[in-house]
Symmetry: C2
Subunit: 372 residues, 2 copies
């Protein structure tokens, strides 16, 4: 807890959810309506996702703004800092990252590193007195997830996991249709998320990625089955395939198919692969219709359709297209502002990781496995 | 073999594949080109499928014709016999069915009874000296399938199983695309076949049906995975669900999800259900494209599409729409005429039944099961 002592009064009050009237006393907030003050994000990891999606989106956000960068490439970081109006003093590298504790401009640290580094950087960020947004998969193991949750709790900081689709209107409408049983009880859900991965990607290095495509892609299928149904799987099984002749897959499987059973009797059958043409979708088969989203997991252009349903109830369902990254970052900003719990907290990442560990257990043991 | 002694010389010569010149000596063939003579089918079981599809189609066939009816409803049989130009003396019931041995007008017995009766009627037909077309699933157990194959072999009669889609141009084109690897290696296949079943159907009575939806519907998914890939599964697993509050499912599961692994590393994930909105399709995901058929298992209107593939190679693929029942019945007629082996012999039904038995073994044991 020693890191907390370095927090400014403003930061403490804000993170503790003290009323805006009190926060308005902080020098930083002078001359503006503090209820509208944007939450500062530090982006840790400036790769395709961190720079190309999150940082690029921040200027469009309503409640979030770019505040700091953490990178191993100083030139890249400097260039991006200039582009996004970030002070040079708010550029960190992986060694001096902990100094972010002294940066009152930073409210949230967004961890966009290889999976194996999520655990370390989430805990370091929490110890630096920052809220944490961590990409999915939350970590490489259930144990790591639990430690991350504990660290953020101990620091009295919020922890959100990057399940961007939980803030996306097409998915929110699909959840509503399924859970209100607009077309009867949900019975079976199919979901796939796959693409052809290039050579030399960290995502195919088990040490860095924690596993194969289920960590990065299949997790969308698992999460979708869970949030669409509102249920937790009780039983899973899986079969994997690791080719012997493909240099991309020397440490992980190339693909996995798996089944899940839910308490209501809902069954799921899913697939994830790094070795075939891109596919990302779900089919929720209910008593009187199929609710189909295809694509379902892309950054935009999601299409929701009801097949069947009787009369004029079928057909495409229009939903607003939004910036998914702003939606999730604005959500955590709002939670910080209003001291609410995020919709996708650490516990949500932990639940998926528990399922993934059981899928690997099943693939390795050749047994259908109970999920506690 | 005693039933064989009652065969006419013509029938013996024909079934033994003797040259048309010899067959032309038979009195029955006088005054017509025997190479064009149609093969007479007896339809055993005049339900929705036997009467509504097979019998209805026979007048349209090129090489097959309606020759006899076997039914427990004399009035229905008489009415249908009149409609289809079948002699009243060629109407049988389940007791006197074996007299078909004396009916030279009948070349093939097509067994369209509940699954549990396939074994008995196939063997009785073979003993009556008739070729057999038997609906899928071939029987309730592997053991029954083996006995049926042995009986037809002992009687020197052909045995074909009703896999109508193996004679259908859309499926034949899909097989070609996949096996020629027009879009690279096949990696993962998804398939579902399901619908909402009505109350009091024999197909939900385990004694009659041998199991749940996998017997009647899931078998299409299994068969499609096998014929598209040209491979046999080596590993399978399954999870089933039998609701406690649905009177349709007192003796069988309502649905099953299952995975299969093939020697090349191809993985399959499939679902079959009697408890949700109709769905029948497959997605064969290959390296450079998805080959999609939706619907895939209907009696007509099948739609084949390539998603991806690069350049102008994607999009819908046109194939001729045909009468699937004529295609299969004409095929066996041609095999009889030319003494060839049918494309979907008893061994094909046996292979699917072996997979189905392993799926049930997996669902019951909670283990991934090797398929010999």
């Amino acid at each position: 807890m020693s890191e907390l002592s370095s927090l400014s009064r403003r930061r403490f009050l804000q993170s503790a959810g003290v009323a805006a009237a009190a926060v308005a006393l902080a020098p930083h907030a002078r001359g503006q309506d503090t209820s509208q003050k944007k939450i500062g994000y530090a982006i840790v990891g400036l790769g395709r996702f961190g720079a190309g999606q999150l940082l690029r989106s921040l200027p469009e956000c309503k409640l979030a703004r770019p505040a700091a960068l953490v990178s191993g490439s100083p030139d890249k970081a400097k260039q991006l800092a200039q582009k996004y109006g970030i002070k040079e003093s708010s550029i960190y590298n992986y060694e001096n990252f902990d100094r972010v504790a002294d940066n009152a401009d930073v409210d949230v640290v967004y961890v966009v590193l290889p999976n194996s580094m999520h655990h370390e950087y989430t805990i370091r960020a929490a110890k630096a007195g920052k809220h944490v947004f961590c990409e999915k998969p939350m970590a490489n193991t259930v144990k790591e997830c639990e430690e991350m949750i504990a660290a953020c709790k101990a620091a009295n900081k919020k922890l959100a996991i990057g399940y961007r689709l939980r803030y996306e209107p097409t998915h929110m409408r699909a959840i509503e249709i399924v859970q209100k049983q607009e077309f009867g009880r949900p019975r079976v859900i199919e979901s796939v998320h796959a693409f052809n991965i290039g050579p030399n990607e960290w995502r195919t290095d088990k040490k860095l990625a924690g596993g194969g495509p289920v960590m990065d892609l299949g997790i969308y299928c698992i999460n979708a089955c869970r949030y669409l149904s509102g249920e937790e799987p009780v039983q899973v099984n899986a079969i994997t395939y690791q080719p012997k002749d493909d240099p991309r897959f020397t440490t992980t499987e190339a693909q996995m198919v798996f089944n899940m059973k839910f308490p209501s009797g809902l069954l799921a059958y899913c697939s994830t692969s790094y070795a075939h043409h891109g596919a990302n979708r779900f089919h929720m088969m209910a008593e009187r219709a199929e609710i189909v989203m295809n694509p379902a997991f892309s950054y935009g252009g999601l299409k929701l359709t009801v097949r069947g349903g009787g009369g004029d109830k079928g057909g495409p369902i229009e939903t607003p297209q939004i910036n998914q990254f702003c939606a999730e970052m604005d959500h955590l900003a709002e939670c910080i502002r209003d001291n609410k719990d995020p919709r996708t907290p650490g516990e949500e990442g932990l639940r998926d990781m528990k399922v993934i560990e059981k899928l690997y257990e099943s693939a390795q043991s050749g047994k259908t496995v109970e999920v506690a």
